[in-house]
Every structure is written in C-alpha cells, then in structure tokens.
Amino acid sequence: MSKRILIADDEQNIVISIEFLLRREGFEVLVASDGEEALAKVRAERPDLVLLDVMMPRMNGFDVCQALRADPDLGGTRILMLTAKGRDTEVSKGLGLGADGYMTKPFSTKELLAEVRKLLGM
C-alpha cells in the first residue's frame, strides 16, 4: 500500500513540482492551498505525512501543526515543515510545536525525498 502524503502550500508552482516528484516516486498525493483546507484534509483523508508550508493564508503552518498535535486521533501523522524563513528560531518553534522534520526552501528534491522516506520509515 502506497503512503499518502498531503502537500499544504499556497504557492501553486511549488505544489505542482512536489506533487510531480512524489507521484513519480509512487506516493499518493493530496493537495491543500491554505491552512484550514490542510487541517480539514488531514482529518478527512488521514495522510501518513503532511508537507506543511509555514506562510499560508487563513491559518499558518504553525497553527496547523499545533492543531494536528492537539488531536490524539492524529498521533501517527508525520509532519515535515517547509518554510522560506530559515532562521533558527523558526526551526526550533516548528520542532517545539511537534513537527517531525524541517526543511528550508529552496530545497533539493533528493533531500526532500530522503527526508520524506526517513519520516515514513522507508
């Protein structure tokens, strides 16, 4: 059974590229373009991994992360934060809120795949 991954990002082109990348590697891909939609899709579709952009309209990545970790039903969902702000404070804030990994934009597709596989235990 292929792993299910949700891409939550408001940048359409980034979504397109990651979606193409992950599909090619055989993952099942879901897409959300803002924080609320992402939260809703996680609850509805139960993906194994969420690639979570920090700067999103309606609800930012930190809030989404916090909401996900507050829901005991979703304890198995891995969270990989993606952000364009690479400051240390942001990294520690994300990890402090319960994210499992953190990647700074722009990232290498290989590294992203490696991180995804690591988080999914593959």
Partner: protein, 920 residues
Amino acid sequence: MLEAPVVVTVALVYLGLLFAVAWWGDKRADQGRSIIANPTIYALSMAVYCTTWTFYGSVGRAAVSGIGFLPVYLGPTLVMALGWFLLLKMVRIVKANRITSIADFISSRYGKSHRLGGLVTIIAVLGIIPYIALQLKAVSGTVSLLLSYPDIVMPDRSATMSVAADMSFYIALILAAFTIVFGTRHLDATERHEGMVAAIAFESSVKLVAFVTVGVFVTYGMYDGFGDIFEHIATHPELRRLVTAIPSGQGYTGWFSLIILSGLAVLFLPRQFQVAVVENVNEAHLKRAAWLFPLYLLLINVFVLPIALGGLLHFSGQAVDADTFVLTLPMSQRQQGLTLLVFIGGLSAGTGMVIVETIALSTMVCNDLVMPLLLRRKAAALEERKDLSGLLLAIRRGAIVVILLLGYLYFRLAGEAYALVAIGLISFSAVAQFAPAIIGGMYWRGGTRAGALAGLSAGFLVWGYTLLLPSFAKSGWLPADFLTQGLFGSELLRPQQLFGLTGMDEISHCLFWSSLANIGAYLGVSLLRPPLAAEATQATLFVDALKETGPVGAALWRGRAQVSDLRELVGRFLGPTRTEAAFAAFARRRGGKGAALEADAQLVQFAESLLAGAIGSASARVMVASVAKEEPLSLEEVMHILDEASQLRTYSRELERKSRELTAATRELQDANARLQELDKVKDDIMSSVTHELRTPLTSIRAFSELLRDDPKMHLADRERFLGLIVSETERLTRLINQTLDLAKIESGRADWNGCELDLKEVVEQSVAATSQLFREKGAHVELDLPDNLPLILADRDRLVQVMLNLLSNAVKFLPPGSGRVHVVLRALAEGLEVSVADNGPGIRAEDQALIFEKFRQVGDTMTAKPSGTGLGLPISRRIVEHFGGRLWVESAPGEGATFRFTLPYAGPAEPAAVAGNPA
C-alpha cells in the same frame, strides 16, 4: 638765471608733482591696489624724520660741534633694532583700537580720558609749533638766498617787514592749503592717508638724492675726496678740534642724552607716530623698514661733515651762515642745476615735515581738544545735526590753518633768536615726556589715569622750566636774571642748574630732571590706588596686544543698545553710505547675524571703534554711551573676566577652532547616522520579507530544474510546462528584485523624481491603452469617464503611469473571467484631481484593506489561489502618490468589488472656475 619767477615756478611745479603723487596714491588705494603697501615706501615715509633741521641744520651743527650732530641719528638706529617689538606692539594696539594719534593712544590706554588726551595735545602743539616755525624759516630763507643768485647774501630779517610782504607768510598759506588737500581730501575722516604717505616717501627720496649729490659734488668736485678735505683741515688748527673729539660743551653725557632723546623722538613725535604706526598698512613691513630706515639715516649723514668742513674752508672769513652751506656751496660754484636740486631737496624736507606734523596735530586738536569741548558744551546743538562728517572735516581744516599760522607767528616773533635755533632738541625733549605714559602703559598694567596725568604734567612743567623758558630768556624775551639768579632770585631754582645740579649740558639737565619728575609722578601716583575698571580693561587691551587672544574688549562691556541707534550715531560721523557698508561687512564677518534689534557687546564695540577712527577713542566712548545703556562693571568683575581671559587665552583660540570643527563633524555624523538608521530600518524590513519572497520562486525553479535534470525521459508536454513555469518564476524574481530596489530608493529619499506639469487625463489614457491586452485576455470591459480641460497637476509622468498600471493590473487579476468590468473615472475636486479605478471583483474585507498597502502583504482568496504579484505594487504606488502631495486608498466591501482612488493636488492654486466647469 634763477629769477624769482623761475624759483617760484619750480617750487610750484614741484608741489604740483607732489600732489599728483598723492592723488595717484589715493586713487590706487581706492582701487585696492595700494602703492604704499611696500616696506621700502614705508621706510622712506619714516624718513620724514629728516627735516630741514637735518637737510640744512646738520651741516650747521657740524660746523660748530663736529660729529656732535650724529647722536640724533644714532638714537633712531638703535631704537629701530627694537622696532620689531616696540613698533609692532604699537601698530597692533592702534589697529585693534582704531587709534588716530599719539594723544588718542595715551587717552585710550588710561580709560579713554578726555583730560589726558587734551593734555597730550597741548604738550604736542606747544612743543611742535616752534619746530614748524623752523621749517618756515628754512624754506623762506633759502628762497631769499636763491633770489640773490649768484651773489651770496644772507637774508636780513628786519622786524619792520609787513606780513603782506613776507614770503614766509605765503609759504605758510600754501602749505596749509596743501596739507588740507593731502590730509583731509577724503570726506570720510578716517585716520589713514595713503596719498600723503606716497608723497612723503617721494619727498624722502628727493631729499636724499639732493643731499648726496651735493655731498659728492663738494667732496669730489670741489675737493679731492674725504682725505683731501681732512688734509686741508690740518692747516687750520681752529677746525681740527671739530674732527678729533666729542665736542667739549656736550661731552659723553650730552652725547648719551641725545641718543636717548632722539630714540624716543623717532617713536613719539606726532609725525613719526603718524607714518610709522597709524599709516602702517602691513606689520610685516616693519621688518625691512627696521634696517632700511637706519640705512637712510646713515647715507644722508655721510657727507655732512665734508660739506661743513668744505664750507668752512671755502667761505673762510666770509659772513656765510653754516646752516646754508648745502645751498651756498653749489651757488658759489655757479651750479644752477645743482642749486635748484638742493632747493627742491630742502623744500621736500620742509614741506614733508610740515604736512605730516600738521595733519597729525590737527587730528589731535580735533579729536582730543575740540570734539570733547563740543560734546560737553554743545551736546544739544550736535544732536540736531544729522551728518557731522562735514563738521569734523571743517574742524580739522581749521586746525591745520591755525597751527600753520601759529607756526608763522612764532617764526615772526622769534626771528633769528636762540629759541628758534635750538628748537629741534627742545621739541624732542617735549615729546620725550610721552615716553613713561606710553611705554609704561604698553608693558605695565598698574599705570592709572591719575598717574599718567601727574607724570605728564610734572614732566611738562619741568621741561618748560628748564628748557623752554631759558630759551625764551636767551632770546631776550625774559629777563636774563631768570637764568643766572633763578626764580624769585633763588639760587636753587636756577632753571639750568636746578637744585644746584651742575656739570651737565642743558639737554641732559632737562632730560634728567624731567624724567625724574615724570617717571616718579607716574609710578608714584599710579601706585596710590589700584586701577579702575575702565583702566584695567584698557590696560589688558594694550599690554596683551601681542598675545593671541580673542576680543577681550567685548567681554568687558555689558549693557543694552539698539542697533538702529548705533547705526544712526555712526552714520552722523562717517556718513550713511560708509556706515551701511561697514555694518554690512561686520554682519558678514559674523555670519549674517545682523538682523537683531538689540545690539550685543561685540556690535557696540565695533560701532565704538568705527567712531574712534573718526573722532578719537575718548569722544567715541562718550558718544556711544549717549545711545547705549551701559551697566558699569565693578573692578572685581573686570578682574574676574580678565583672569579668566588670561587663563583661557593660550588655548581659547585653538579650542574655538576645534570646537567649531567638532560641531560641524558632529552634525555631519548625526545626519549620516540618521540617514543610516533610516536606511537600516528600511533594509531590515525589506530584508526579512525579501528573503522569504525570494526563496519562494527559487524553490519552484530549483524543484522543476532538478525534475527535468533527473528525468531525461519526461513527457514532452510536462517538460514544456515545467520550462514555462521556470521562465515565469524567473520573471517574477526579476520583478521582485526591481520593485524591491525601487521601493528602497523611494523610502530612502534617493529616487529620481522628474516633476513637471502634466495632464492627468493623458496619463490615464496611456495606461489604459497599455493594459488593454490584459483586459481583452480576461474578457473584461473597461469604461472611461475622463472630462477634458482639467487643470494640470505637478508630478512625474512615468511614476504616475506606474501607479495607474499597478491599479489596472491589480483590478484585472481579481476580475471574474468573462464578465469583468472596470470603471475608470477622473474628476476635479476642490483640493485636486481624483482618479478612481473600480472593479467588480470579489472585494476586500475591511480588516484586509489596510494590510494590502503593507509590503509583501497580499490578500488572496482560497478560491482564486494566491495572486501572482510581488506584494510591492500598492506600497510603491501609495508612496509615489504621497510624494506628490496626494492620497491613495481603497473603498470596498466583500462581494461588491473594490474601488481604488487617488488624488493629486493642482499645479498652481486651486481654480474654482475649472472645478465649477467640471461636468463630472
């Protein structure tokens, strides 16, 4: 033949030439190209020291006393070695305090005292008038001699000659006219006379050339050089004593006294003070003059003894006065040209002395005698006269005529009497009385007004009793008993053996007793009490004249005065034009602080010094006091200020300079820092946002690029799609960078703005045309409502197009596809033109309306996904509009579209007619 018309013509032509030189000198001075700004001219002008008493008299004295005439020139030589110190200090003091004469100098030093100035003037006039008489005698005597050419007939002065027939009377009048023209030509009554100095220097050259020519003629023409003359003497035992010894009547004491007296005279004779100190244009000239002037004295004396001896040998047994040898020797050889040259030389010596001395004395009489009396007695009458510069000149001219007529009168009375012959040294002794007050005043702070008055009075009285009155007695104007029996028949009071002092010549005798009385009284009385505040102030200005210091004087004045009052007061004495110019120059020097109504201490001082240049320091003080309410400082306060001044003196100037530099540097740093901080803030804001905004497109570009790279077998359609996305993300990056830089420029104030008057309608039409393709692609419709003939606005055309393009492209982004409508309206309001761009898009929530104008804040909608802009368009637009004085804002409600509006003020004042005619 030297007929009377020839002599008179030559004399008048020469005087005309002098006038031409003076006129030229004044003209050049007016043009700012001074001809006297030259150390040689300055040294030559000092040679006014050599009068007819030198030109003719030296030979006469040498014929009687051998080398006894020389100390009169050795003294000045020695003093000039110190001139670099003494004269330099005097020049500094005179310039700093605008002192006009030696009377002014003394009066100013001791607290600007009218009484002291008056006393000095009286001593000077009494001492100098006989000296002027001597010049008249010499000039008229030589004219008479010439008229009998080639016979040598000593002039016979019979007392019966009427004034009208007396040539010297006319000479006096001509000289008076000349002096008036030379000395009071300027209407501004200032103290300096460049033309006169030029003429005096010219005269000094003439008299030196004339005398040396005669000397060479006598020594090498009539005899066979120095050796030959002295050999001849060997056969005349009665002449040998002249060249072998200090004259017995004089002795070493007399010799020494003469050196001292002449050394003082070369500083303090009014004419010497005038040319050496008052007329000095550049203190650097003192240096070269310090040795050139003694050299001049040396040269003019080299041939004195040969001429005297030659004359004695040649005219042996004849009744020819030795005082005339300079002229009669060439006459005896029938040297017409040389005779005329000598006459001109003598005329130069006489006129030069008379002109300068009379100018100096008239200034003293006007400023230190007449003005104080006028100020005291007729203050009310003076008040009524608007312009007093004419009165000042009239007083000076009157004084010149009176002084010369007094000189003539003395000459008529004295005739050939002893009192005239000996007057040179008597005059020297009179002006030597100024020495303690002046030299003491320049180097000792303790001298007081009372001390100076006592010293001068005592010295003057002793001089009169031991030298002047005896000369009267020797002339037969006083009973001879006075000399031999003493006053009241008291032996102790014999004027030339005062208190039984014998063994001295009369000059040494007078010098000793008058110095004792003068210096004793000056020191003694000064030591009785401490100086008053005014005296201490002036003492500091004089004693510290050579120290590098700021204007201490201004610190010592406290009070209130109106600028307009000062200006009017100065204007009355100097004339309004010169006053305006002087005040304006002063304001410029102080950096344009001239507009205040209330005068500060520096301006009051400046006004006083301006006045001092015209009417003397004491009168200037009185006049300024009449318009300024001075709060007198106590002595303690003065001493306190002076102490502070002296403590700070060494460093004050340096500190002032440093502090000025520091202030300037600090201001620059503050400006730079403020600019940097502003830039820094802008940079910080932008940097944090920019890094985020840059990373976003870079993320896509990198991801797509790696996908393409890693998958060579990718479908062509995907490949093309990804490449297209890469290109558009690159374009987005470029746009972002450009707009970031643009905004940074605008915010830091470094943007280029090309403001011009323009028609806003044109700008709107141009922008709509440029975006028509965008609207067509989205199937949208644009409506325009743009009235004609609206007033112009002042702005940068390209920047406004940028704003319009931004608003229009923003609108396009949010328009519903196919049914979009944009309405662009231009209308005139009272405060300016307004443009509105209304769309029928989704609208903007009230809470987001402020956010969209912030940098990188885009308000998107889930449904429409993120807008493709940079988030900088609206912030830039708003800043552009605000730069030209307008406003940019949005009106919207969700679901009802958004209307962006901006206003821009009219180029000129608002035109209501245009507004009223606006169809919108």
